[in-house]
């Protein structure tokens, strides 16, 4: 990893910070009623997100899930249209019709997200099939959680990818809880080891809070896929700091307070900052400036989301079909 240029390393930190500050802001906006409904934040999982997204090339595809604010940010999306989408503005990446569950910036290779757990996994597989047929070298990566690891469509997809040697990476973001359910109580065996049954490599990144470890594992999988080696299942162990979704009041502790504290104690952003400074990649001052820059970016995105117009309600009738033949509704 020492071969990575300094600017790439700093960019990793920048994107992790963007995700953290963006989601902190979004969380606040939900609580203040500035975002309708709820959002699912990636706070705590930034290393896992950025390590994976930065291992992809600009032309590569990714598909997300319900916790997908971080994915487009990690792949380089500007923050303004993402924030505007959360608020439901016309300038949002989905014109305000998607919201938090569809922060789908198609400009950065996103294939979209979905609140239906597991449902975007076959979609990434289809994109990978197109890459194989077109022989264009584009890799697809499906993000899904430990909950989705128990949905059948993952295994339907892995079988296809295995038998057809598709350039796809199945990236399990194992944050150890499906809403309130601890993964170990509903998951048989080790997720990464399930790859063996499909004849593909299975890799487990035990320290998913280390962005370089995630980057290394996913880069190897991407390289393998791009060179015709077929799919890989990568399981990354990580942790979400916040509730399953913002504002969700479950009124019960399904997670041990000490457990959360111990994960917060190995914060991916703080540790990577220390690593960058200790290894001479950046100075403390430069890191402070980076924090200031990112905060300003998020503030600008917030302003953009506030100044942007809401879509007209009639827009709800547009785009259902290519020819929009929705008639009068008497």
């Amino acid at each position: 990893m020492s071969t990575l240029p300094n600017e790439t390393l700093v960019e990793m930190q920048r994107r992790m910070l963007r995700i953290r500050r963006f989601d902190e802001r979004a969380s606040k906006m939900v609580k203040r009623g500035q975002i309708p409904g709820t959002v699912h934040t990636s706070i705590g999982q930034e290393a896992q997100v950025v390590g994976a997204t930065m291992a992809l090339g600009d032309d590569d595809y990714m598909s997300g899930n319900h916790r997908s604010h971080g994915h487009p940010i990690g792949k380089g999306s500007p923050l303004g249209p993402l924030m505007a989408e959360l608020v439901g503005k016309a300038t949002g990446v989905c014109g305000g019709k998607g919201g938090s569950l569809h922060l789908a910036d198609f400009n950065v290779g996103s294939l979209g997200e979905s609140g239906i757990v597991g449902s975007s996994i076959p979609i990434a597989t289809g994109a990978a099939l197109s890459s194989k047929v077109l022989d264009n070298g584009r890799v697809a990566l499906a993000f899904f959680g430990d909950g989705a690891a128990n949905q059948g469509c993952l295994y339907e997809s892995m079988n296809m990818a295995g038998v057809w040697d598709l350039p796809v990476i199945y990236l399990c973001e194992n944050n150890q809880y499906a809403l309130s359910t601890p993964a170990h109580t509903v998951t048989s065996g080790v997720i990464a080891e399930r790859a063996a049954g499909f004849g593909m490599p299975g890799v487990r990144v035990e320290d998913g809070q280390d962005v370089l470890k995630v980057y290394e594992a996913v880069s190897a999988a991407v390289e393998n896929a791009r060179s015709g080696g077929g799919p890989t299942l990568v399981e990354v162990i990580t942790y979400r700091y916040n509730e399953h979704s913002e504002g969700l009041r479950l009124g019960t502790d399904y997670r041990d307070a000490l457990e959360r504290e111990s994960w917060v104690g190995r914060d991916p952003i703080l540790s990577f900052r220390k690593h960058l400074v200790d290894s001479g990649v950046a100075t403390e001052d430069e890191m402070d400036q980076l924090e200031i820059d990112v905060l300003a970016e998020v503030e600008e995105a917030f302003e953009f989301s506030q100044e942007s117009p809401f879509p007209e309600p009639e827009v709800a009738f547009l785009d259902l079909y290519t020819d929009n033949p929705i008639g009068a509704h008497a």
Binding site: T38, G96, H102, G115, A178, L179, T181, V186
Partner: protein
Amino acid sequence: MTTTMTMAKALNAGLRAAMEADPKVLMMGEDVGKLGGVFRITDGLQKDFGEDRVIDTPLAESAILGTAVGLAMRGYRPVCEIQFDGFVYPAYDQIVSQVAKIHFRSRGRMPMPIVIRIPFGGGIGAVEHHSESPEAQFAHTAGLKVVACSHPTDAYWMIQQAIAADDPVVFLEPKRQYHGEKAEVDTEATPPPLFTSRTVREGSDLTLLAYGPTVRLCRDAALAASEEGRSLEVIDLRTLSPLDLEPVFASVRRTGHAVVVHEAARSLGMGSEIAARIQQECFYALEAPVLRVAGFDTPYPPSRIEEEYLPDLDRVLDAVDRSLAY
């Protein structure tokens, strides 16, 4: 004994009573055990009845329903919670291809006493896939029964009756009312049979037909209309498959006007079937076409504009005006 309950509490009490009454009753679903469900409907049940009877399942809706079929074949009465309406589709294959057909296919030897609880409908400001009204898709499937509660008292009794029924029941719970209006629930009363509709307000000028979340809306509409001197009858359909329409026909023969109100999209929704049956049975009594007030024929919109999508007082009263002016 009378207790004041929200719908959520009433469902919880009804589930508890069903589990006490029959050791073959099981709960299964995502987060239903230790947590007690995201809406807290199964709160405390795992603690009191154990992990073998209140089962925290993996996040795998198809397998939840499929294993419920196997349990039902061996004499159990599984009650499956689908966390949100929009999450039912991974289980749709099991529900339509297996649950609905096994009794028929086994020539009556294999009953499927499964209850599929689905929090449904909008109005809680939720994100996509969390506000849908899939009732017509299940009511269209022969072999399933479909009911919707609209009130804490009904919730308490209907869930117990659904569990006691020997056929599979899709049990729709209007999630926006879980923690809303409270009611005095008499837990020793004799409830009406499950598969019956009920007149919740008598009137003589027009018949409003509703179920689940729109019953409250239609009661409010009838109240508002009464201030304008109009007398609206409100019928809570309660059962969507089978439909219990005799009381509806009797009402429409008196009023000559009918308006069906539901949150689900209008085209091929429950209102379409109900309107067809009314015109067939009450043709000479009708003084106006049966009108439908419904969601629009689009995906459920972002929650910021859901109030524009959902039937509201204005839209119901407007339909009432149009029907009466016909």
